[in-house]
């Protein structure tokens, strides 16, 4: 029998890149803030630490950059923002995602 929870977890992890990049499209943000935002969205609740290796990889790939900024409510925070190539990659990813959704919708309709 299929383990639905396991499938959902794998799907969520696989979609982290597109989710994080879309969150950064709204404006610069830090890991802690992004985790808190995702926690409030149904279906996107991730383990809190998951975001950091993803951000590090996106930065290595040149899709995001980081900078530190002092905070009035704690130690300085590391902010991430989209680079130009990150914006381009996100557009491609979003288009592909829309295409996938549409394809699945068509299959479900029996086309």
């Amino acid at each position: 029998m299929m383990n639905l929870e396991n499938w959902q977890t794998q799907l969520r992890k696989g979609l982290l890149d597109i989710v994080v990049l879309n969150l950064l499209k709204r404006g610069p943000s830090h890991g802690y803030e992004m985790v808190q935002t995702m926690k409030r969205i149904e279906g996107l609740q991730i383990r809190e630490g998951n975001i950091y290796p993803v951000l590090a990889r996106l930065e290595t790939d040149g899709l995001v950059t980081s900078y530190s900024q002092p905070s009035t409510d704690g130690p300085p925070r590391k902010y991430f923002k989209l680079t130009e190539s990150g914006q381009q990659a996100l557009e491609d990813m979003n288009n592909h995602w829309d295409l996938l959704l549409e394809s699945i919708r068509q299959i479900r309709k029996g086309a």
Binding site: K13, P70, T72, G74, P76, R77
Partner: protein
């Protein structure tokens, strides 16, 4: 560090254990950015800990925070592909291993027998003891100076001298937060709380690294503070050592 209480030590131990596991997993899978990821996670954990009230600082809650972070194995999985190791590097790795084995053989057959034939140098052992002590003392002196600087800065804030608190703050803070921004933030955070009734140091930690901040010398201090309108508050304040040798505040947070 001298003011850290027993529960905080438990947290620090658990946090370091978790970070070490992440570091090991990432290093084993040849991931780049190991240090950066570990520091980001450390910052996240520190924020989660800071959100706990003194009553909530229990072993169960510490474990819950770690559980919510996820297993260390997931970090390597999400960090992506392993770095390719070029054939040249593998060859050099082999050469280095052979060199180390040869060195160990030389040490085992020549150096150790020579050392064993001599009597132990007791003076050397004494020196080791006395050399480590001043280092700890230096840290304690730094923590004491940082606490004095923090108290002086907090007094300005207590008296509503927000303009002066900005001019007395660290250059790092002033670079990113304008005088007006600091004034607005402090007014919003402090005015509703009323006057300070009591304030005592809860813990203080000397560190040379902080997430998102340049390497330097920092002391993270937590004060247990009672205000007119909030009895159990925790003020976290982070003085940093500036090039002129003065400790100045680089961050302030009330919970």
């Amino acid at each position: 560090m001298s003011d850290i209480n027993f529960q905080d030590k438990d947290w620090l131990r658990l946090r370091e254990q978790y970070l070490k596991q992440i570091e090991e997993v990432l290093t084993e899978s040849s991931q780049p950015n190991v240090e950066s990821i570990v520091e980001d996670v450390r910052g996240h954990l520190d924020r989660r800990f800071a959100e706990l009230s003194p009553m909530q600082r229990t072993w169960e809650n510490y474990q819950a925070i770690i559980t919510e972070m996820g297993p260390p194995s997931e970090y390597a999985e999400l960090a992506g592909q392993k770095r390719d190791i070029p054939a040249k590097k593998i060859l050099w790795g082999f050469v280095v291993i052979v060199a180390v084995v040869l060195l160990l053989l030389i040490i085992g057959t020549i150096v150790i027998p020579l050392i064993l034939s001599k009597k132990p140098d007791l003076n050397l052992m004494d020196k080791t003891k006395t050399e480590s002590a001043p280092l700890k003392l230096v840290d304690e002196q730094k923590v004491a100076s940082a606490i004095e600087a923090a108290k002086a800065w907090l007094q300005l804030v207590d008296e509503g001298k927000y303009d002066e608190s900005w001019s007395q703050a660290a250059g790092f803070l002033k670079k990113f937060v304008s005088e007006e921004q600091l004034k607005t933030s402090l007014e919003a955070a402090r005015k509703p709380l009323g006057k300070v009734l009591s304030r005592k140091v809860q813990n203080s930690t000397y560190t040379t690294t902080l997430p998102g901040a340049p390497d330097g010398q920092y002391v993270v201090i937590q004060f247990e503070t009672s205000f007119e309108n909030k009895q159990n508050a925790v003020e976290t304040i982070t003085p940093m050592l500036e090039p002129d040798g003065q400790w100045r505040v680089s961050g302030y947070y009330i919970r």
